[in-house]
Amino acid sequence: MPVAEKAELITNAAGRVVPETVNGRHQLPYMGLGKYHPSGRKASAPIRTAADYPANGDKVVPDLETALRKCGLRDGMVLSSHHHLRDGDTVALAMLQAAAKIGVKDLMWFPSASFPSQKGAIELMQAGVIDHIEGSLNGPLGDYCTQGKMRGMGVLRSHGGRWQAIQDGEVRIDIAVIAAPTADPFGNCDGSHGKSACGSLGFALGDSIYADHVIVVTDNLVPFPCVPWQIQGNNVDYVVQVNSIGDPSKIVSGTTQITRSPDRLRVAELVARFLRDAGIMRNGFSFQAGAGGIALAFVSYLRQMMKDSGVKARFVRGGSTKYLVELLEEGLTDYILDGQTFDIDGVRSMAANPGHVATSPFTSYNYHGKGNFASMIDAVVLGATEVDANFNANVVTHSDGRLLHGIGGWQNCLASKCTILAVPSFRDRIPVIVDEVTTLCGPGELIDVVVTERGIAINPLREDLRNAVKGSKLPIRPLREIQEEVERICGGKPSHPKRSDRAVAVVKWVDGTLLDSVWQVI
């Protein structure tokens, strides 16, 4: 049983201290951007034969427990789940609880992201059913980890990094359980139809290809064929029918709300004006924005500017929401390339509009591939919890060291041609621009612009952007100047919270090397 080892620590190329081994596996430290060149061949799932599967295509078994038993569940296995049902998902926890009922121990849970509704996993960790989690850790699970209670070490990866880890054989999934809003008895799955429709199932695609065993759980079993199929039944071992895979009200939000905070609206407007005045907003351009309050408001400001200037985008990337769907329906973009669908308008659009395309972390983000979409995007708007004077940024921990967010696609998006962090300059008196980030998630070389309500800072490495907005009315200021202004307002530099020297989780870079550690909070 792997108990959190007192790992040897080394300093990586970003100057951050990381362990040499994680959960018994040797690790490579971060070497700098593009410096690590992998070799070897990709991992692969075992060869199967159709002789072992029902010729009539009916792979339905009575329940999840039966399916797990048939997949040969045993101690120490890796079980994966996916977050396309977000906080409404009930399948991941049901999977873990079924495993507990079978009586296995020391599992590694490998979710594409975890949510507060899955806090029941804590009891399973306490009971020894789960040894550790490799996936986003926040809320109660994050606290459990940063308090040093999880036996193994947490591993935080981006969406692209998760694909890379599976593909490169860093993580071998024994059993993947896919929650499907619609499926047929053969195992073909679709996310855009059914009472629990959630849009794209892209997060589960890699697991379906590489896992030893794949179980589909659905609350909308249709006769073969399930069309369209986002997941191919040819990779699926068993299908389980249940009454419900989740709470629809938490799967998608009915309405995505634009922020009403004047300060955040100001940030959003400045971001849109920056894209316009820097000439990034031009015919055929592309951008990505998520579903946060600032990002939504940014899209609505940009939409008006696009209309005023008669500019059309070639494609936009989401997290799709009503606001991106409006762009598509008004002809302001040719395509939405959608990695995750946030609201009912997004789900409806994906089901009905051929220009609204479901994508996966492979096409969008995987760094160990022959390119990916992220680097082709003209501009991306992201959040952050902290950014330092060299534009290095943190997105996973609060300034006190507690895990707050998963990485999501954040690290992958940094590859865009213009990466913009849209952040308030302080939150509840806590400055966002700091001397040194608590946890390094994004190297400053990749972060081009920081937009706050007090001004816009352009990375000195991007002289082209600086020249592009010369003569505009934008409040361009050095990042250091904004930092000093905020420190004056907040009454000086904040103190540094104490932390231990025991790593409880690590942050992977998109190439699988270790970028930083998360330390136990004292």
């Binding site: 004047p262 300060d263 509840d428 008196r429 806590i430 907040c490 103190s495």
Partner: protein, 399 residues
């Protein structure tokens, strides 16, 4: 609770509250200062908050007390104001003003500066203070009157005083709306030493109200040796006030503008305030006329519907057409709409530019008659054009 001497509290806390702190002070006969702090920002500023609290209590001359603080990320100037307010409510530290570090005062405001928009900020809501100016209104009004609960007048006064001192309001004119007299006079004692640029006098009905305020301001300024101007803007909110508009506008040399409060005015008349504003047309025109007769600016009321930007646009355009030079706003989103509506149009600017050029040309050639094309231009038209150009320049529309 506030009546019982020696134990009192001030400020708010709770999960919904941001940027405020609830302070409870219980005075002791002996012992020491005991501070119990719960703060959202404990790891970063906990020690700093405790040091600040000790220093404020020392300045207030309080040596023995139990102090509880529930902090929701209040900035230092708010923390000081809340401690001082709690102490005063407990009957402690009377007569002592504990002032936070000040920012450099902006240049004094000019009598005839542009006053298109003034953003109201409730005087008891510290979270709105710090970024109000970032939204670019011509003025920020720290309000002590209608947006402050009657039970919080004492605490809001201290908060506004500290904000005037510690918050950088950038290029905004720093205005305070005091309470109706006589309470408003007490506000002045606390506020005027921090050099607000302009005082709004609510419910002004007669010239006496203005004179009383002018006199009190002069006294306080005399006590503190302040020479910077403090301008006045009476708010007419009743039928009587409207009838006295001209005399109110003329009552003080310090008055730079008069404005109207439509909620109270329509209530006074017993009519419903409508989107078109027909019911207040007379009052607004009367006010504009009185202002111009007295040589001060006429400023319109606020537009109350936060979400109706189109309604606001129409109201503001009409308002400018009636002769108003600006209006109030209750949400930052209103600011750009108002600025656009009160800005001279490019057609107007072009025409004014041509008139001014023709005038300059006539002057240079020693001609008494100014003509543009085949048309003769009267002197008042030239003056209006000069004024419009100056205004456009001040708004950054021409260089």
């Amino acid at each position: 609770m506030h009546d019982r001497a020696l134990v009192a509290e001030a400020g708010r806390s709770g999960p919904e509250v941001r940027s405020d702190v609830r302070v409870r002070i219980e005075a002791r006969e002996h012992g020491a200062i005991e501070i119990e702090l719960h703060s959202r920002v404990e790891p970063y500023y906990g020690d700093s908050i405790r040091r600040q609290a000790e220093s404020v209590l020392e300045e207030l001359g309080i040596r023995y007390a139990d102090v509880q603080m529930e902090d929701e990320g209040a900035l230092p100037f708010v923390i000081s104001a809340r401690i001082e307010a709690a102490a005063r409510r407990a009957g402690l530290g009377q007569g002592t003003r504990v002032l936070p570090d000040g920012v450099t005062l902006p240049p004094a405001s000019a009598r005839d500066r542009i006053r298109r928009s003034r953003l109201y900020v409730p005087g008891s809501e510290p979270k709105y203070f710090i970024n109000a100016a970032l939204h670019g209104p011509d003025a920020v009004i720290l309000d002590l009157e209608d947006s402050v609960h009657p039970g919080e007048k004492d605490t809001a006064r201290l908060l506004v005083r500290n904000a005037l001192r510690a918050v950088d309001f950038l290029d905004c004119e720093r205005m305070v709306r005091i309470n109706q007299l006589p309470m408003g006079l007490e506000d002045l004692d606390e506020i005027v030493p921090e050099s607000p640029d302009l005082i709004l006098i609510p419910k002004t009905e007669t010239p006496d109200h203005v004179i009383a305020v002018e006199k009190r301001i002069a006294e306080v300024k005399g006590d503190y040796g302040i020479t910077r101007p403090t301008w006045l803007m009476p708010i007419l909110e009743t039928a009587l006030g409207i009838e006295n508009a001209f005399f109110i506008a003329k009552a003080s040399e310090k008055t730079v503008a008069i404005t109207i409060g439509l909620e109270d005015y329509t209530a006074d008349l017993g009519v419903v305030k409508t989107r078109s504003g027909n019911e207040s047309l007379f009052a607004r025109q009367r006010l504009v006329n009185a202002a111009h007769a007295a040589g001060v600016q006429a400023i319109d009321s606020v537009f109350g519907d936060l979400g109706d930007l189109e309604g606001l646009r129409a109201w503001a355009a009409n308002s400018r057409a009636l002769g108003f030079e600006g209006m109030g706003c209750v949400h930052p989103l209103h600011i750009p709409v108002i600025h656009e509506a009160f800005a001279p149009t490019s057609v107007e600017i072009d025409r004014a530019r041509k008139i001014v050029a023709a005038y300059d040309d006539a002057q240079a050639r020693g001609l008494a008659v100014v003509s543009l094309g085949s048309k003769m231009i009267d002197l008042p038209v030239v003056q209006r054009a000069l004024k419009l150009m100056a205004r456009a320049q001040a708004m950054g529309l021409v260089y």
